[in-house]
């Protein structure tokens, strides 16, 4: 019996080791390749250099894609979080079929194949003549909305309704109660939703694939078209490393502001 228990532990440990190697090695390889001093990637690396990062910022299309991705993710995450928060605060104390339907609608983009959403939005934008950036922004807003909605709904549901009643009995109107009482209390949920919406937008491929245009491209799509049409030059590794670095920086910032444990639990 104890032999079986040891066997179980060995299987779990081995599987975990294999899984972490398979998940993390491709990411580590990219970061190592980005610091390669040569024109091609050799493993193990023969030295360290910043030349591919210099090259990245020299290429106008790369620089532009990076800036556009940051702007897009900031705007889309903010808009998505505001909308998701509004939806969550509306639904938090409501029951009934209409509330269930609305909740399903606000969460649906989470499981809806984004490639189909991308095709559908491109078709709509072609018909109504939507410019590229607002089109991308609204697409990423729809994709990011469920994150803020879900985290704020979870935070708000955990609140004691007596708090809001106390606020109102002390003379606060609905707007004052919302801004001074409810919002500060659900703030970790808001921040967590914003973080996830930002990260999703910053790496998003399926909708951006259809909705980017000439000169208006996001970093992931720029990396994709380089890989597809110009082979794997190492400037791509530098671009990828910057993608990773920005996310690590953002997560570290949030950790300092509110603590990452609260963010993960707020999911």
């Amino acid at each position: 019996m104890s032999r079986r228990r040891t066997a179980g532990r060995a299987i779990r440990g081995t599987a975990a080791a294999i899984a972490f190697v398979l998940i993390l090695v491709p990411i580590v390889i990219v970061v190592v390749a980005a610091f390669s001093p040569k024109d091609y990637f050799d493993f193990p690396p023969s030295g360290l250099s910043w030349r591919w990062f210099v090259e990245f910022f020299r290429l106008e299309n790369m620089r532009g894609a990076f800036a556009l991705s940051v702007e897009l993710a900031l705007a889309a995450a903010t808009l998505a979080t505001v909308l998701g928060t509004l939806g969550a605060l509306f639904l938090v104390r409501r029951r009934g079929p209409l509330a269930t339907l609305l909740q399903a609608l606000f969460l649906a983009p989470l499981v809806f194949p984004t490639i189909v959403l991308g095709v559908a939005l491109l078709l709509l934008y072609k018909t109504v003549g939507m410019p590229v950036f607002p089109g991308l922004l609204l697409a990423h807003c729809v994709i990011g909305m469920p994150y803020g909605f879900r985290t704020v709904l979870a935070s708000a549901q955990a609140l004691d309704p007596a708090l809001e009643e106390a606020g109102q009995s002390l003379g606060a109107g609905p707007l004052a109660t919302l801004l001074l009482l409810t919002l500060p209390l659900v703030w970790p949920g808001v921040l967590s939703g914003w973080l996830f919406a930002f990260i999703v937008s910053f790496g998003e491929l399926n909708a951006a694939l259809f909705l980017t245009g000439p000169g208006v491209t996001t970093l992931p799509i720029e990396i994709f078209s380089y890989l597809q049409f110009q082979g794997s030059q190492l400037v791509i590794a530098a671009a990828s490393t910057l993608q990773i670095a920005l996310i690590i920086g953002l997560v570290a910032l949030i950790e300092r502001l509110v603590g990452i444990g609260r963010i993960i639990r707020a999911r």
Partner: protein, 283 residues
């Protein structure tokens, strides 16, 4: 006053969800029911011909079969590797579990195109694996690892594995250990306890992980294109090709075939795993 105030909250998200999610998808469906047109986005006449054309074409049946095969292989591998890993994570003490969960979440934050690029660097003709094997003298000429269906399966499986692990680990960690203790006190060995108590109780996590991995597999165009190349195209690649060829009604019909496939597979998975049996029975 109270309802009017509340409607101000609901109106903006509802408007965006309707205008940029419900309406475009409905419009796409409407277009899928029209004849193709040379000059317009779609023709005037209503038809089911786009669907009939795809469903009656052996080429698309082969693509669909390949899509199902790749999805099944990815799901099987994710479950086989993911379940023991989730068990490993769930048994860790709370603080270490948090760190390991963070380590699993981090790759999900990195764009899939970057993670696919990592696999290209490993699998390419002059990639790390071929260079390593040649250096060791195991092989004389580089192996063709990239642009194959197994490359798609392995790459996509590792990209999506954290979703499976986190879903199952969350369920396992929340599981009441007294059920397992009760089974063992009644004389069941570790294997029997696992098969008859732990595994059935973890089905909600297995179901949500399986559904996430499946749905993300079906629309993973970029990963499939980069690792599979032109010979390993799946349904989602056909949608993209249809759009770039401006065959709008055709691409629209393919989109709804993909959606229908996702819906049917979701039904099958929920029917087989029956997570609702466990949920709501208190834990």
């Amino acid at each position: 006053m109270k309802t009017r105030w509340a409607l101000v909250l609901a109106a903006p998200p509802l408007a965006i969800a309707l205008a940029f999610f419900v309406v475009p998808v409905a419009y796409l469906f409407w277009v899928s029911l029209h004849q193709p047109s040379q000059s317009e986005l779609y023709g005037a006449a209503l038809t089911l011909g786009n669907y009939a054309g795809i469903l009656g074409d052996s080429f698309y049946l082969e693509i669909t079969r390949r899509t199902l095969g790749v999805a099944a292989a990815i799901l099987a591998l994710c479950l086989l590797v993911g379940y023991p890993v989730a068990y490993f994570v769930a048994l860790l003490p709370a603080r270490r579990r948090m760190l390991v969960t963070l380590l699993l979440l981090f790759p999900l934050m990195v764009s899939n195109v970057v993670r696919a690029y990592g696999w290209i660097a490993l699998l390419a003709r002059r990639g790390v694996i071929n260079a390593g094997l040649e250096g060791l003298g195991v092989i004389a000429a580089p192996l063709e690892l990239l642009y194959t269906t197994p490359a798609v399966v392995v790459g996509l499986m590792t990209i999506l594995l954290p979703y499976m692990v986190i879903s199952i680990a969350n369920t396992l960690a929340a599981l009441d250990r007294r059920y397992e203790e009760a089974a063992q006190a009644l004389g069941a060995g570790p294997l029997r306890t696992f098969l008859h108590v732990t595994l059935p109780l973890s089905m909600p996590g297995v179901a949500s992980g399986t559904l996430l991995v499946l749905l993300l597999t079906l629309s993973a165009y970029v990963t499939i294109t980069l690792l599979g190349g032109p010979r390993s195209k799946l349904l989602v690649s056909m949608i993209y090709d249809g759009v770039t060829a401006f065959q709008w009604p055709h691409a629209a019909a393919l989109s709804f075939i993909l959606l229908a496939l996702a819906l049917v597979l979701t039904g099958v998975i929920l029917g087989v795993l029956r997570p609702a049996r466990v949920q709501g029975t208190g834990r």
